[in-house]
């Protein structure tokens, strides 16, 4: 336990003017310290693979088809009810794909639960942060707006696998 020391003001401090000078000198010294203001938006925010920006859907290597199998896990995991998925059958080997995949960016809180839940590496957080439009409807992103080539998200995917590499000494049941 430490009892905080209440200061009694000395005469100098009570006179107030010397104190003003002292505090002002403290403030004026700040002029010569490096500037920390970022001139946003001229100077963009630095982003890297750690940044959890808006979620994006990954495309397979062919850059056309989504990796998503429309399992609905991200929809369930989303705490903001931002994701809507309608699935459909497909002739491809994976048998199911989304017919409609919408993320309401106005609802999305960028929590990253969808990324964690997805069992197909189909949704990842990109480093895209800026979000503005003139109508609400335009901010409900559909597949066209969400899909990204895998290469664009590769750094995030690698990072995600790195931090997710847990239970290394585990005795897996499988």
């Amino acid at each position: 336990m430490v009892i905080v020391k209440r200061k009694e003001l000395s005469l100098m401090e009570r006179l107030f003017l010397p104190e003003i000078v002292r505090a002002l000198s403290h403030s004026f010294r700040a002029i010569f310290q490096p500037k920390i203001t970022r001139q946003y938006p001229e100077e963009g925010l630095p982003t890297n693979e750690v940044t959890r920006g808006q979620p994006r859907l990954t495309l397979l290597e062919d850059n056309e088809t989504l990796a998503c199998v429309s399992c609905g896990l991200c929809e369930v995991a989303c705490p903001a009810y931002a994701i809507t998925i309608d699935g459909q059958e497909t002739d491809r080997f994976i048998e199911r794909e989304p017919e409609r995949f919408e993320i309401d960016m106005l609802r999305c809180i960028l929590c990253g639960f969808c990324e964690e839940a997805c069992p197909k590496d189909a949704i990842f957080m990109s480093d895209e942060l800026e979000l503005a439009d003139f109508t609400r409807a335009a901010l409900v992103y559909d597949i066209d707006k969400l899909k990204r080539p895998k290469a664009a998200l590769q750094k995030r995917i690698d990072y995600f696998y790195k931090v997710n590499d847990r239970w290394r000494k585990s005795s897996s049941t499988s």
């Binding site: 430490v2 905080v4 995600f160």
Partner: protein, 412 residues
């Protein structure tokens, strides 16, 4: 220096009838909910007799979003982002409080390194929250440069959290059974650099405020709360300690391994705004100490796990989900239907505002029956009339600032 002397003299009936501006009839004043000095959307109804406050009545609820009820319909894990938004100046602290309650309920043991990371995050959050207190209270009392100084330091913390979690605020990085990701060496280095420079910054704050006569006069002997009153009004945290009661949950009921850290509990003697300020400044120093110790322990436990290996509650590693059927099934089970055992649990943690408690009741299903949040801010708000009645109106700002609450958790 003599304490502020101020004698209130009730107005006589003749004076109330007269046009006397000082002792005329009572004026009803509604301070807030948009008043910048109420730190959020708090409305305070005050009857003013001249400059003296009477019948001070705080009115809460303008930021009510139904968080507790939301928990009942969202499920256990999906409530984490909502806890961020309770006391939004220390999201990770709320995350951890909620996680600890769930872990108590389910009997989950967090690995050692996970606990160290949590302690580190909690102390850094505490520093950030106290910086907000200091900056906003100071700017309310007229010290504008303090605000910028504090926010400059806080900005450093937020950059570190950004580098660690990917978000500046609302981090949602705590999970049942630990934390989502390990603190890597880059972040560790940033933290160490910040913590080494921080005591000097605190000294700078003290240069600006502690002996500053305006700050001194406006805080000293203002809003005195006696130890008995503080206890009776269920105040916790720096407000209680400012009144001279050395109660700190980190010492009284240690969690996350706090008993292994070397730190002191700061207590005041008088219980006025000035004491509460001094206690918080000292707490920032102590938090720096704890965080430094946690950093040293992180170095010792490098390579350890931060998330417990409990297949019932923790998502399996992604690598295995892709390759093994067993893990895939668990992935589906945990995301869609995370069940906690039947029972109830309460866990309080020492947040920057006081005892932040989560009381969770489970019937064994994936939906909570009840999640009650003991938000320290609400109790702090309730003490306003006690401190403010019969004082000058200009003391109100100092009292509100020194009680330090965030309306996000008061109204929840």
């Amino acid at each position: 220096m003599s304490p502020q002397t101020f004698e209130y003299r009730p107005s006589t009936p003749e004076e109330i009838e007269s046009d006397d501006p000082v002792h005329g009839e009572l004026m009803h004043l509604s301070m807030g909910p948009q008043h910048p000095a109420t730190h959020g959307v708090l409305r305070i109804l005050i009857d003013l007799d001249g400059e003296t406050m009477h019948n001070v009545e705080p009115e809460v609820g303008y930021l009510h979003r139904g968080k507790e009820k939301t928990c009942e319909s969202l499920g256990w894990a999906k409530f984490f982002p909502h806890t961020d938004r309770l006391d939004y100046v220390q999201p990770l602290m709320n995350n951890i409080g909620y996680a600890l309650a769930l872990e108590k309920l389910a009997g989950i043991v967090v690995p050692e390194r996970g606990q160290i990371v949590r302690v580190l995050l909690m102390e850094v959050s505490r520093i950030a929250a106290h910086l907000i207190y200091l900056g906003t209270t100071a700017i309310d009392l007229g010290a504008v440069s303090m605000f910028f100084n504090c926010f400059k330091e806080r900005e450093k913390i937020y950059s570190i959290l950004d580098a660690y979690t990917g978000h500046r605020m609302n981090n949602t990085y705590v999970r049942i059974g630990g934390v989502f990701a390990d603190v890597d060496e880059g972040v560790e280095g940033m933290l160490r650099e910040f913590l080494e420079g921080f005591p000097a910054a605190v000294d700078g704050f003290e240069t600006m405020l502690t002996g500053n006569r305006i700050w001194y006069d406006r805080n000293r002997d203002v809003g005195i709360i006696t130890p008995d009153d503080a206890r009776a009004w269920a105040l916790t945290g720096p407000n209680l300690r400012g009144a001279g009661i050395a109660h700190d949950l980190r010492k009284a009921e240690p969690y996350s391994g706090y008993e292994d850290y070397d730190f002191e509990v700061a207590v005041g003697t008088v219980g006025d705004c000035y004491d509460r300020y001094l206690v918080r400044v000292e707490e920032m120093r102590q938090s720096t100490r704890i965080a430094m110790q946690a950093l040293d322990r992180l170095r010792e436990t490098r390579g350890g796990e931060v998330l417990t290996e409990d297949r019932r509650y923790v998502l399996p590693p992604k690598e295995k989900v892709m390759t093994s059927m067993e893990e895939l099934i668990f992935q589906f089970k945990i995301v869609t239907d995370l069940r906690l055992p039947k029972g109830e649990a309460y866990q309080g943690i020492e947040s920057s505002k006081g005892e932040l408690g989560f009381f969770v009741v489970s019937d064994g299903s994936s939906m909570p029956v009840r999640c009650h949040i003991r938000a320290p801010g609400l109790y702090n708000v309730q003490a306003i009339p006690l401190l403010a009645n019969r004082r000058l109106f200009s003391d109100m700002v100092a009292i509100i600032g020194s009680l330090d609450f965030v309306m996000g958790e008061v109204d929840r």
